[in-house]
């Protein structure tokens, strides 16, 4: 009965001033609750999120420290001994566990080392795309007028280019295609959806009274954008970005498979799937294993994005 304390106090000061949150406020009066802590509360209880998080962490460790998972090198080719050697399913985590490919390289080692390319491309493209899209979307949405007209038309033009076809066109112009070339070409085409989401979100937020209040105080444009607009407009952008991450990993695999993404000697699941397609009949595992890895990775990020969206989207509550 904390509320009764109010009764003994003087009447001229409102009781709300004296009873610390006894009459209202949330269940844990001492603890501030924000959108992010609410979202975290939801996420921790979401099995989808937990599973995807475990998988993503595992993949991340694999990408950073592949040596922890296997002692074999992905580039050691021993045609004489291991040409299309079948998997020995019982030898967990041994180099011959998942068998050898057509050049006599350990598939397990290649799968482990291939994670780095996929994760790097996915994460870096997402970061680049989010930053570019956010800046363009915020400028267009906040300033409006001719700047918005120009930026929005540019966005439309880029949005109209089919992603894979566009990336193919760009990549074919490069002789040497490193991870960074692939990342750049994908980021160059991918920022449009983020820009659109950010623009829409900013247009809604900029009309809020707290933005008007900041203007009335004489706040600078930079301050309004960074302190008021960005923190409130970011949630939908993060949702789109996390879901897009899985898509970029799939796109990298696709491009590499088509032979215009990453190229040897880079280790990539997409390349492995591509080289394995000729042996599909006599050695299907050579193709299936890297494909499954791509699927698991993409699925993990999609599930992660889905969980984040559910947690951040107030309409779902």
């Amino acid at each position: 009965m904390p509320d009764t304390t109010a009764l003994t106090k003087s009447t001229d000061v409102p009781a709300e001033a004296q009873t610390p949150a006894a009459t209202d406020a949330g269940p844990a009066p001492g603890k501030p609750r924000s959108l992010w802590s609410d979202a975290w509360h939801d996420l921790r209880r979401n099995p989808l999120f937990l599973i995807s998080m475990v998988l993503i962490l595992l993949l991340a460790v694999m990408a950073i420290f592949p040596g922890l998972f296997t002692s074999a090198s992905p580039r050691d080719a021993n045609l004489a001994e291991h040409y299309l050697q079948h998997p020995k399913w019982g030898n967990f985590f041994a180099p011959d566990w998942l068998g050898y490919d057509v050049q006599g390289r350990s598939i397990y080692a290649r799968v482990v080392y291939g994670a780095r390319a996929s994760i790097t491309v996915g994460v870096v493209v997402t970061i680049a795309v989010t930053l570019t899209g956010l800046v363009i979307g915020m400028l267009a949405g906040y300033f409006g007028g001719w700047l918005d007209t120009i930026l929005s038309r540019i966005t439309d033009v880029f949005f109209g280019v089919p992603f894979i076809v566009g990336a193919m066109v760009i990549l074919t112009t490069f002789e040497e295609r490193s991870v960074w070339v692939v990342i750049l070409s994908m980021a160059f085409l991918g920022w449009t959806s983020i820009a659109r989401v950010a623009r829409g979100s900013v247009i809604t937020i900029k009309q809020a009274d707290y933005v008007v209040a900041a203007k009335a105080l004489g706040a600078s444009t930079t301050r309004i954008l960074t302190r008021h607009i960005l923190p409130n407009a970011i949630a939908p952008v993060i949702v789109v970005a996390t879901i897009a991450l899985g898509g970029y990993i799939a796109a990298e695999a696709t491009l590499s498979f088509l032979g215009i993404g990453l190229a040897e000697p880079t280790v990539s699941w997409g390349i492995d799937v591509s080289t394995a397609k000729d042996q599909l009949r006599n050695a299907p595992y050579v193709l299936v294993i890297p494909s499954v890895m791509v699927s698991i990775t993409v699925l993990s990020f999609l599930m992660f994005g889905d969980a984040v969206r559910n947690a951040l989207d107030p309409k779902m509550r």
Partner: protein, 382 residues
């Protein structure tokens, strides 16, 4: 607490001015000096002259062509005196909120002037404008959208100090914010909470604390209690009255609730379709209205007292407020007015003391924009 008092302002202002003068723009420094100078009680602190705001209506996507204008505010003039509360009432679309935005320089006036201590704020920019903004603050209608949900209460109330760092040294800010919370009747320990942990009334107190932070002289209140529950409205109104006495504030109190406006205001202006229909002291407007619109507005207010309403005459207007994009010629109220004649359509009535009342000293002798102004008490039972 003493730092918050207005008396300290002149002391504060002197070193500030000398610092400004070292800057090359001497005129700007003069403007800042004028803005920071004190105004004695009863002098006009804000003078609005023929203020006009037209929002252009455009057509076409690429080449925009103006096809008309929404005449939101169409030539209004009034004075706000130091230490008083001027109430502005009117229905939605009458332009009262646009007036608030113009006075806050959130919108650029199409024409007209707003003199704040002799400086026309519609033409200021840079440092001088910033100085004006420090002295004119605003309290918003909706306590749910006027506070940034991602900022703590401490950050919200402290933001004015970040923008105007000369007002409070950095180490002092937390203490100042806690003092402000205390002043508006909130527990200073709430400093690290987020807005959504508070009720509407408490949020409005936070908004008021933010408005007070810079020791302003004028606070423009745009429907500050209309989003609150009845039992909480009274608390906030009492708080605002207390703060006015304590800090010698001038209020421009914009609202549609005529009872609350009467309670808090010293003078009241009635707006209709971008024009001021009638303006005077609260007694002149409420007990001796001479403009038919004021009379209709007052008579339509539901009174929660069946015994008081029995003898009251109710004027029920027909139709709606016309569009401000296409207002009627002559008197704007004529389309709904029971007194309208030929003259009302052709000749626009000016806001002035009606001829028949000019000589007298009756309470009916106040400014009213009607050709056929006559006194009629609609509030008291016959």
């Amino acid at each position: 607490m003493a730092e918050l008092k207005k008396e300290q302002e002149p002391v504060d202002a002197t070193p500030h001015v000398s610092e400004v003068e070292t800057v090359d723009a001497a005129t700007e420094a003069e403007a800042v000096a004028a803005i920071d100078a004190p105004v004695s009680q009863g002098e006009p602190i804000l003078q609005v002259r023929n203020l006009v705001k037209h929002f252009p209506l455009t057509q076409g996507i690429l080449f925009k062509k103006q096809i008309g204008a929404v005449k939101a505010v169409d030539g209004i003039s009034f004075d706000l005196y130091a230490g008083e509360t001027l109430g502005i009432v009117g229905e939605s679309g009458c332009g009262k909120s646009t007036v608030a935005k113009l006075l806050m320089t959130l919108e650029r006036a199409t024409a007209g002037e707003v003199f704040y201590k002799g400086q026309d704020i519609t033409k200021l920019s840079g440092r001088a404008l910033k100085a004006v903004r420090r002295n004119i603050q605003m309290v918003f209608q909706d306590p749910y959208t006027s506070l940034n949900p991602r900022m703590t209460v401490g950050d919200i109330i402290g933001e004015p100090f970040d923008i105007h760092p000369e007002v409070a040294p950095k180490g002092d800010r937390r203490r100042r914010v806690q003092e402000l919370l205390d002043v508006v009747g909130l527990n200073p320990e709430y400093i690290n909470r987020y807005p959504h942990q508070f009720s509407g009334g408490q949020r409005q107190r936070i908004g008021i604390a933010r408005g007070l932070a810079l020791n302003p002289e004028i606070i423009i209140c745009d429907e500050p209690v209309s989003a609150l529950d009845v039992s909480v409205q009274a608390q906030v109104i009492n708080l605002m009255e207390k703060l006015q006495d304590e800090f010698n504030l001038s209020y421009l109190f914009i609202a549609h609730d005529l009872s609350i406006v009467r309670h808090i205001s010293d003078r009241v202006g009635v707006m209709y379709l971008g024009k001021m229909a009638e303006i005077g002291t609260d007694t002149q407007i409420y007990d001796h209205p001479t403009h038919p619109y004021t009379q209709a507005l007052l008579s339509a207010v539901p009174v929660p007292d069946p015994s008081a309403r029995e003898g009251r005459e109710r004027i029920i207007l027909t139709g709606d407020v016309p569009s401000p994009a296409n207002p009627p010629s002559g008197c704007r109220f004529r389309t709904r007015c029971w007194k309208a004649e030929e003259r009302c359509a052709t000749e626009e009535p000016l806001l002035a003391i009606p001829e028949r009342f000019v000589a007298g000293t009756t309470p009916a002798s106040h400014e009213s924009a009607c050709h056929f102004a006559e006194e009629k008490d609609v509030v008291h039972a016959a």
